[in-house]
Protein backbone atom coordinates (compact mmCIF):
# COMPACT_ATOMS: atom_id res chain seq x y z
CA UNK A 1 0.00 0.00 0.00
CA UNK A 2 2.78 2.43 0.84
CA UNK A 3 6.45 2.49 -0.08
CA UNK A 4 8.86 1.21 2.52
CA UNK A 5 9.65 3.90 5.04
CA UNK A 6 13.35 3.70 5.84
CA UNK A 7 14.71 4.65 9.22
CA UNK A 8 11.49 4.19 11.18
CA UNK A 9 11.51 2.18 14.39
CA UNK A 10 8.87 -0.21 15.58
CA UNK A 11 6.14 1.83 17.29
CA UNK A 12 6.26 -0.70 20.15
CA UNK A 13 9.95 0.03 20.72
CA UNK A 14 9.66 3.80 20.33
CA UNK A 15 6.59 3.81 22.57
CA UNK A 16 8.19 1.67 25.27
CA UNK A 17 11.27 3.90 25.27
CA UNK A 18 8.99 6.93 25.60
CA UNK A 19 7.48 5.23 28.62
CA UNK A 20 10.98 4.99 30.10
CA UNK A 21 11.66 8.67 29.33
CA UNK A 22 8.42 9.52 31.06
CA UNK A 23 9.38 7.50 34.15
CA UNK A 24 12.78 9.22 34.18
CA UNK A 25 11.11 12.62 33.99
CA UNK A 26 8.81 11.87 36.91
CA UNK A 27 11.72 10.49 38.93
CA UNK A 28 14.28 13.20 38.25
CA UNK A 29 12.21 16.33 37.68
CA UNK A 30 8.86 15.27 39.16
CA UNK A 31 7.18 16.27 35.89
CA UNK A 32 4.51 14.45 33.90
CA UNK A 33 4.17 14.84 30.13
CA UNK A 34 1.62 17.31 28.88
CA UNK A 35 1.36 19.84 26.07
CA UNK A 36 -1.86 21.81 25.91
CA UNK A 37 -1.26 24.18 28.85
CA UNK A 38 1.71 25.52 26.89
CA UNK A 39 -0.68 26.90 24.27
CA UNK A 40 -2.57 28.77 27.00
CA UNK A 41 0.64 30.28 28.36
CA UNK A 42 1.77 31.22 24.85
CA UNK A 43 -1.58 32.78 23.96
CA UNK A 44 -1.33 34.70 27.23
CA UNK A 45 2.15 35.96 26.30
CA UNK A 46 0.89 37.21 22.94
CA UNK A 47 -2.13 38.91 24.53
CA UNK A 48 0.05 40.37 27.26
CA UNK A 49 2.15 42.10 24.64
CA UNK A 50 -0.99 43.82 23.34
CA UNK A 51 -2.92 44.49 26.55
CA UNK A 52 -1.06 43.58 29.76
CA UNK A 53 -3.69 45.01 32.13
CA UNK A 54 -6.45 42.89 30.66
CA UNK A 55 -4.40 39.67 30.84
CA UNK A 56 -3.40 40.44 34.42
CA UNK A 57 -7.01 40.19 35.56
CA UNK A 58 -8.30 37.28 33.46
CA UNK A 59 -8.98 34.31 35.77
CA UNK A 60 -7.65 31.70 33.32
CA UNK A 61 -4.35 33.52 32.86
CA UNK A 62 -4.08 33.82 36.63
CA UNK A 63 -4.55 30.07 36.85
CA UNK A 64 -2.12 29.36 34.00
CA UNK A 65 0.35 32.23 34.12
CA UNK A 66 1.81 33.42 30.81
CA UNK A 67 5.34 32.27 31.64
CA UNK A 68 7.88 29.81 30.28
CA UNK A 69 7.88 26.70 32.46
CA UNK A 70 8.98 23.04 32.30
CA UNK A 71 6.21 22.04 29.91
CA UNK A 72 6.82 25.00 27.61
CA UNK A 73 10.43 23.87 27.16
CA UNK A 74 9.25 20.27 26.79
CA UNK A 75 7.03 21.25 23.85
CA UNK A 76 9.88 23.20 22.22
CA UNK A 77 12.04 20.12 22.79
CA UNK A 78 9.56 17.94 20.88
CA UNK A 79 10.07 20.20 17.86
CA UNK A 80 13.87 19.97 18.16
CA UNK A 81 13.87 16.21 18.77
CA UNK A 82 11.71 15.56 15.72
CA UNK A 83 13.90 17.87 13.66
CA UNK A 84 17.04 15.99 14.73
CA UNK A 85 15.51 12.55 14.16
CA UNK A 86 14.13 13.42 10.72
CA UNK A 87 17.11 15.33 9.32
CA UNK A 88 19.62 12.71 10.45
CA UNK A 89 17.63 9.88 8.86
CA UNK A 90 16.61 11.56 5.60
CA UNK A 91 12.92 11.44 6.46
CA UNK A 92 12.56 15.23 6.80
CA UNK A 93 10.27 16.49 4.05
CA UNK A 94 8.70 19.87 3.40
CA UNK A 95 5.11 19.03 2.82
CA UNK A 96 2.18 21.45 2.71
CA UNK A 97 -0.58 18.88 2.21
CA UNK A 98 -0.46 15.36 3.72
CA UNK A 99 -0.60 12.38 1.31
CA UNK A 100 -3.88 10.96 2.61
CA UNK A 101 -5.55 14.37 2.42
CA UNK A 102 -4.30 14.94 -1.13
CA UNK A 103 -5.69 11.60 -2.36
CA UNK A 104 -9.12 12.52 -1.01
CA UNK A 105 -9.34 16.29 -1.42
CA UNK A 106 -6.68 17.14 -4.01
CA UNK A 107 -3.56 19.32 -3.75
CA UNK A 108 -5.34 22.66 -3.11
CA UNK A 109 -3.44 24.10 -0.17
CA UNK A 110 -5.88 26.58 1.31
CA UNK A 111 -8.53 23.90 1.95
CA UNK A 112 -6.10 21.88 4.02
CA UNK A 113 -4.74 24.92 5.79
CA UNK A 114 -8.18 26.27 6.68
CA UNK A 115 -9.22 22.85 7.98
CA UNK A 116 -6.02 22.59 10.02
CA UNK A 117 -6.58 26.05 11.48
CA UNK A 118 -10.20 25.37 12.41
CA UNK A 119 -9.31 21.93 13.74
CA UNK A 120 -6.60 23.47 15.90
CA UNK A 121 -8.96 26.10 17.28
CA UNK A 122 -11.73 23.62 18.09
CA UNK A 123 -9.32 20.99 19.39
CA UNK A 124 -7.52 23.29 21.79
CA UNK A 125 -10.78 24.68 23.16
CA UNK A 126 -11.85 21.11 23.87
CA UNK A 127 -8.49 20.12 25.34
CA UNK A 128 -8.62 22.99 27.79
CA UNK A 129 -12.18 22.20 28.77
CA UNK A 130 -11.16 18.58 29.31
CA UNK A 131 -8.06 19.82 31.18
CA UNK A 132 -5.67 17.85 28.99
CA UNK A 133 -4.74 16.43 25.60
CA UNK A 134 -3.46 13.01 24.46
CA UNK A 135 -0.21 13.72 26.34
CA UNK A 136 -1.63 14.90 29.65
CA UNK A 137 -4.71 12.68 29.78
CA UNK A 138 -3.83 9.96 27.28
CA UNK A 139 -0.27 9.19 28.37
CA UNK A 140 0.28 10.69 31.82
CA UNK A 141 -3.30 10.17 33.00
CA UNK A 142 -3.72 6.59 31.93
CA UNK A 143 -0.26 5.52 33.10
CA UNK A 144 -1.30 6.69 36.58
CA UNK A 145 -4.55 4.75 36.14
CA UNK A 146 -6.47 8.02 36.52
CA UNK A 147 -10.16 7.62 35.75
CA UNK A 148 -10.14 11.01 33.99
CA UNK A 149 -7.40 9.80 31.62
CA UNK A 150 -9.36 6.78 30.41
CA UNK A 151 -12.63 8.69 30.00
CA UNK A 152 -10.83 11.46 28.10
CA UNK A 153 -9.05 8.98 25.83
CA UNK A 154 -12.32 7.31 24.85
CA UNK A 155 -13.95 10.70 24.12
CA UNK A 156 -10.93 11.85 22.08
CA UNK A 157 -11.18 8.79 19.86
CA UNK A 158 -14.96 8.88 19.55
CA UNK A 159 -14.93 12.54 18.44
CA UNK A 160 -12.02 11.91 16.09
CA UNK A 161 -13.52 8.79 14.53
CA UNK A 162 -16.80 10.58 13.80
CA UNK A 163 -14.97 13.38 11.97
CA UNK A 164 -12.69 10.93 10.13
CA UNK A 165 -15.75 9.09 8.92
CA UNK A 166 -17.46 12.29 7.78
CA UNK A 167 -14.32 13.38 5.94
CA UNK A 168 -13.27 10.09 4.41
CA UNK A 169 -16.46 8.07 4.31
CA UNK A 170 -16.91 4.53 5.45
CA UNK A 171 -14.11 2.81 3.60
CA UNK A 172 -13.43 2.28 -0.09
CA UNK A 173 -14.71 5.67 -1.29
CA UNK A 174 -11.89 7.89 -2.49
Amino acid sequence: MKERDEGGWSPYLAGALSGLVSIGSVWIAGKYFGASTTFVRSAGMVEKAVDPERVAQMPYFLKELPIIDWQWMFVVGIFIGALIASTTSGSFRWQAVPDMWEVRFGPVRWKRWLTAFLGGTIGMFGARLADGCPSGHGLSGSMQLAASGFVALVCFFVGGMIVARLLYGGGERS
Binding site: G15, S18, I84, P98, G126, V163
Partner: protein
Protein backbone atom coordinates in the same frame (compact mmCIF):
# COMPACT_ATOMS: atom_id res chain seq x y z
CA UNK B 1 16.57 27.10 35.37
CA UNK B 2 17.45 23.44 35.93
CA UNK B 3 13.77 22.63 35.60
CA UNK B 4 13.65 24.35 32.21
CA UNK B 5 16.67 22.39 30.98
CA UNK B 6 15.07 19.13 32.17
CA UNK B 7 11.98 20.11 30.20
CA UNK B 8 13.96 20.79 27.06
CA UNK B 9 16.00 17.59 27.25
CA UNK B 10 12.93 15.46 28.01
CA UNK B 11 11.11 17.07 25.09
CA UNK B 12 14.01 16.41 22.72
CA UNK B 13 14.10 12.73 23.70
CA UNK B 14 10.33 12.40 23.36
CA UNK B 15 10.25 14.27 20.03
CA UNK B 16 13.04 12.04 18.72
CA UNK B 17 11.10 8.90 19.68
CA UNK B 18 7.80 10.25 18.30
CA UNK B 19 9.49 10.85 14.96
CA UNK B 20 11.23 7.44 14.96
CA UNK B 21 7.95 5.73 15.79
CA UNK B 22 6.34 7.62 12.88
CA UNK B 23 3.46 8.81 15.00
CA UNK B 24 3.75 12.48 14.12
CA UNK B 25 2.20 12.21 10.69
CA UNK B 26 -1.30 13.17 9.65
CA UNK B 27 -1.61 9.89 7.73
CA UNK B 28 -0.85 7.89 10.89
CA UNK B 29 -3.21 9.88 13.10
CA UNK B 30 -6.07 9.73 10.61
CA UNK B 31 -5.10 6.13 9.89
CA UNK B 32 -5.90 5.31 13.51
CA UNK B 33 -9.14 7.30 13.49
CA UNK B 34 -10.19 5.47 10.31
CA UNK B 35 -9.21 2.16 11.97
CA UNK B 36 -6.75 1.38 9.17
CA UNK B 37 -3.36 1.81 10.81
CA UNK B 38 -2.88 1.37 14.55
CA UNK B 39 0.68 2.78 14.73
CA UNK B 40 -0.22 5.56 17.17
CA UNK B 41 -2.24 3.22 19.36
CA UNK B 42 0.69 0.79 19.52
CA UNK B 43 3.02 3.63 20.46
CA UNK B 44 0.74 5.14 23.09
CA UNK B 45 -0.24 1.88 24.70
CA UNK B 46 3.39 0.67 24.83
CA UNK B 47 4.38 3.92 26.55
CA UNK B 48 1.46 3.64 28.98
CA UNK B 49 2.14 0.00 29.90
CA UNK B 50 5.83 0.64 30.58
CA UNK B 51 5.03 3.93 32.32
CA UNK B 52 2.42 2.53 34.70
CA UNK B 53 4.83 -0.04 36.11
CA UNK B 54 7.58 2.54 36.63
CA UNK B 55 5.38 5.31 38.00
CA UNK B 56 3.65 3.09 40.56
CA UNK B 57 6.98 1.57 41.55
CA UNK B 58 8.39 5.05 42.17
CA UNK B 59 5.23 6.04 44.00
CA UNK B 60 5.30 2.99 46.27
CA UNK B 61 8.98 3.55 47.02
CA UNK B 62 8.22 7.17 47.93
CA UNK B 63 10.42 8.48 45.12
CA UNK B 64 7.68 10.28 43.21
CA UNK B 65 4.19 11.59 43.66
CA UNK B 66 1.15 10.91 41.51
CA UNK B 67 -0.45 13.86 39.80
CA UNK B 68 -4.04 12.89 39.07
CA UNK B 69 -6.38 15.16 37.14
CA UNK B 70 -9.92 15.27 38.55
CA UNK B 71 -12.68 13.40 36.77
CA UNK B 72 -15.25 16.08 36.03
CA UNK B 73 -17.63 14.38 33.65
CA UNK B 74 -18.90 17.65 32.14
CA UNK B 75 -15.43 18.90 31.30
CA UNK B 76 -13.79 15.63 30.38
CA UNK B 77 -16.63 14.25 28.25
CA UNK B 78 -17.75 17.48 26.53
CA UNK B 79 -14.18 18.77 26.22
CA UNK B 80 -12.90 15.36 25.15
CA UNK B 81 -15.47 15.07 22.36
CA UNK B 82 -14.78 18.63 21.19
CA UNK B 83 -11.06 17.89 21.24
CA UNK B 84 -11.70 14.75 19.19
CA UNK B 85 -13.59 16.72 16.55
CA UNK B 86 -10.74 19.20 16.28
CA UNK B 87 -8.16 16.40 16.23
CA UNK B 88 -9.98 14.67 13.36
CA UNK B 89 -9.88 17.90 11.35
CA UNK B 90 -6.31 18.86 12.17
CA UNK B 91 -4.75 15.39 12.23
CA UNK B 92 -2.20 16.39 14.86
CA UNK B 93 -2.53 16.77 18.60
CA UNK B 94 -1.01 19.63 20.60
CA UNK B 95 2.29 17.85 21.25
CA UNK B 96 2.65 16.17 17.87
CA UNK B 97 1.88 19.37 15.95
CA UNK B 98 5.24 20.76 17.02
CA UNK B 99 6.94 17.48 16.15
CA UNK B 100 5.22 17.40 12.75
CA UNK B 101 6.57 20.87 12.08
CA UNK B 102 10.00 19.56 13.09
CA UNK B 103 9.89 16.94 10.35
CA UNK B 104 8.74 19.50 7.77
CA UNK B 105 4.99 18.81 7.64
CA UNK B 106 4.20 22.48 7.77
CA UNK B 107 0.44 22.29 7.38
CA UNK B 108 0.77 21.77 11.14
CA UNK B 109 1.84 25.42 11.49
CA UNK B 110 -1.74 26.42 10.66
CA UNK B 111 -2.93 24.04 13.32
CA UNK B 112 -0.53 25.59 15.84
CA UNK B 113 -1.86 29.08 15.07
CA UNK B 114 -5.38 27.69 15.40
CA UNK B 115 -4.53 26.12 18.75
CA UNK B 116 -3.22 29.43 20.08
CA UNK B 117 -6.54 30.99 19.04
CA UNK B 118 -8.44 28.13 20.65
CA UNK B 119 -6.53 28.63 23.90
CA UNK B 120 -7.27 32.37 23.81
CA UNK B 121 -10.96 31.65 23.19
CA UNK B 122 -11.05 29.25 26.11
CA UNK B 123 -9.46 31.86 28.37
CA UNK B 124 -12.42 34.13 27.49
CA UNK B 125 -14.94 31.36 28.07
CA UNK B 126 -13.36 30.01 31.27
CA UNK B 127 -15.47 31.93 33.83
CA UNK B 128 -18.65 30.71 32.12
CA UNK B 129 -17.38 27.14 31.83
CA UNK B 130 -16.32 27.12 35.45
CA UNK B 131 -19.85 28.05 36.51
CA UNK B 132 -21.53 25.50 34.22
CA UNK B 133 -19.89 22.55 32.44
CA UNK B 134 -17.12 22.19 35.02
CA UNK B 135 -19.62 21.66 37.82
CA UNK B 136 -21.32 18.69 36.16
CA UNK B 137 -20.40 15.33 37.65
CA UNK B 138 -17.28 16.13 39.66
CA UNK B 139 -15.81 12.92 41.10
CA UNK B 140 -12.50 14.44 42.14
CA UNK B 141 -9.06 12.95 41.67
CA UNK B 142 -9.87 9.27 41.47
CA UNK B 143 -8.01 6.34 39.98
CA UNK B 144 -9.23 3.04 38.63
CA UNK B 145 -7.85 1.02 41.60
CA UNK B 146 -9.69 3.37 43.99
CA UNK B 147 -12.98 2.95 42.14
CA UNK B 148 -12.66 -0.84 42.09
CA UNK B 149 -11.25 -0.96 45.61
CA UNK B 150 -8.30 -3.17 44.64
CA UNK B 151 -4.53 -2.79 44.67
CA UNK B 152 -2.93 -1.18 41.64
CA UNK B 153 -0.65 -4.23 41.43
CA UNK B 154 -3.78 -6.22 40.63
CA UNK B 155 -4.85 -3.87 37.84
CA UNK B 156 -1.47 -3.31 36.19
CA UNK B 157 -0.82 -6.96 35.19
CA UNK B 158 -4.35 -7.10 33.75
CA UNK B 159 -3.59 -4.05 31.64
CA UNK B 160 -0.36 -5.60 30.43
CA UNK B 161 -2.03 -8.88 29.47
CA UNK B 162 -4.88 -7.03 27.76
CA UNK B 163 -2.41 -4.80 25.93
CA UNK B 164 -0.32 -7.72 24.69
CA UNK B 165 -3.44 -9.55 23.45
CA UNK B 166 -4.52 -6.39 21.62
CA UNK B 167 -1.06 -6.06 20.05
CA UNK B 168 -1.20 -9.67 18.89
CA UNK B 169 -4.60 -9.03 17.33
CA UNK B 170 -3.32 -5.89 15.55
CA UNK B 171 -0.43 -7.85 14.07
CA UNK B 172 -2.67 -10.70 13.00
CA UNK B 173 -5.01 -8.25 11.24
CA UNK B 174 -2.11 -6.28 9.78
CA UNK B 175 -3.35 -3.04 11.32
Amino acid sequence: MTTLIYGLVTGILFGFLLQKGRVLRYDKQLGALRLMDMTIVKFMLSAVLVGMVGIYLLNDLGLAKLSIKPLIFGGVVVGGLIFGIGWGLLGYCPGTSLGALGEGRWDSAWGIVGMLCGAALYAEAFPTMKATVLTWGDFGKITLPQILGVSHWFIIPLFIIGGLLLFRWFEKKGL
